[in-house]
């Protein structure tokens, strides 16, 4: 009986550990992806302008962690941090390449 209880506790801890990963990167969009915004934008536009423009079509806000571009489930919060370095807390769904966001916070000044 103790072994069964212990197994459940371990499973719960393991599940809990998977539920809240942390991802560091910059808020970008799935149109530009990992390409620099300088390719897409025109002179005078900021990276944030580019990202906001790109997400008007089928493309969405995403986190670029240097190499990987992962879609973000919370688009409204992501929009506030366009082109900023952020820490995203959440779980990654490999099937949909989406981070199910718990929170997004800026790490610009850290």
């Amino acid at each position: 009986m103790k072994i069964i209880v212990l197994a459940f506790v371990l499973a719960a801890v393991a599940t809990g550990a998977n539920a809240a990963d942390t991802f560091i990167g910059v808020i970008s969009d799935t149109m530009c992806g990992a390409k620099p915004h300088s390719l897409m934008k025109l002179k005078g536009q900021t990276d944030a302008d580019c990202i906001k423009m790109c997400t008007k079509g089928p493309y969405v806000y995403a986190l670029l962690d240097g190499t990987n571009v992962m879609k973000l489930s919370d688009q409204k919060t992501a929009a506030k941090y366009a082109a900023q370095n952020v820490k995203v807390t959440g779980t990654y769904d490999q099937k949909t390449n989406t981070i199910r966001v718990t929170s997004i916070e800026s790490v610009e000044d850290k």
């Binding site: 149109m31 390409k35 390719l39 934008k41 025109l42 002179k43 536009q45 008007k56 079509g57 089928p58």
Partner: protein
Amino acid sequence: MTCKNDAHTLVRPASSWRLVLGILAVLFVVNSLSAQSSPDSSNSGMVEMNPASIFLMNLASGTSGNPASWPMPMLAMHFGSWNTMFMATAFLADIQQSGPRGGDKLYSTNWFMATAEHHVGSRGAFETEVMLSLEPATITNRSYPLLFQTGETAYGVPLEDAQHPHNFVMSLGFHYTREFGEDTILDVYFAPVGDPALGPVAYPHRASAMEVPEAPLSHHLQDSTHISDEVLTVGMSYKKIKLEASGFYGSEPGENRWTIEAGPINSWSTRLWFFPAKNWATQFSVGRITHPEALEPGDQVRTTASLHYTRPISGGSWSSSLIWGRTHNTASLHNLNSYLAESVLPIRRDNFLTGRVELVDKDELFSDQPTIERQLDVLYGSTFRIGTYTVGYTRDVSLIRDVETGIGANFTAYTLPDAIKPYYGDHPVGGNVFIRFRLRSPE
């Protein structure tokens, strides 16, 4: 009840010149692209865009639009600072239909579209589009069987229980779009052949209609103006609303599907779009079309409303549409209504389930049999409401790189008034088996 369409006859001599001019225009654009193209192979994706460019990228047919969240299947490339998009779909289908008026045929519906866009300053953008179809060759004898379908002619006779092919040049148009302040965009569209601001997204471009090779029965009461001549549209978009007005030549294409026709701008329409969120698009439009049918007198006053929804899901996008279209004929005084609901649901990426339900009023089912038409008119009236119920399935198979190749089938059952059952049978049905090829967006 019939009359000769003199307008078509008068413009024919000029049509070959217009085709030449159209081809020259396309060659000019292609030449411009070639001159600016970079020799490297990393020219995928878009470059140097502004909000006006993005606005153009999200358009479907003419100035219409699917929900913004729908990822249009296309290849996007840039050549220098020109952005290009290429879209193509082809069905090779065999249709079998029951009943005395049902037909069987091997045919292919297909279309190819290319656009080239370039920014004009920091706020403007120019785009040219061309859409071609080989249906004049791949739909032999000027039609394929489609029970209860009417509209246009073949060999001088009104089509009954048959659908006409599209023209070789389905679209040749030019946009100039400019942003005025944040979220306000002006779009001016001129198309020697194009889609005026009337009706829902035309079915060849509609997200929810992508897996059905045949035309909807309600096509001629909803989106039949998608191939019109001399289209001039001005539209203003502000945030979630877009208001458009068009002038165009109202006659439907003649039987020579290889030419571009012309005529005076004699028809008018206006359309209001509302995009409440990325997954939604809805429109209301009205128009007066001058003498659209070659063998039918009168003008048409058309009113349409539609609601389109796309939900991105794992493995694709679930797209659905609800459409209403009403056409009033000023000569016959008939009011014809049509209702359409359709949906395509991707399952595990490689499977597509399709459904389409229509209720359509038809008044031309016996237009080349005047005796029967008169008898029915006296006894039962001149308009018959037809119901269609289509289900379909497509399975993608990986055969060709960058091409979504699918094998599919659909089945349609019809409901009809008792008065015309002697001519169609009690329970007419039909079905297609098909292979579908579609340019795929890169992963």
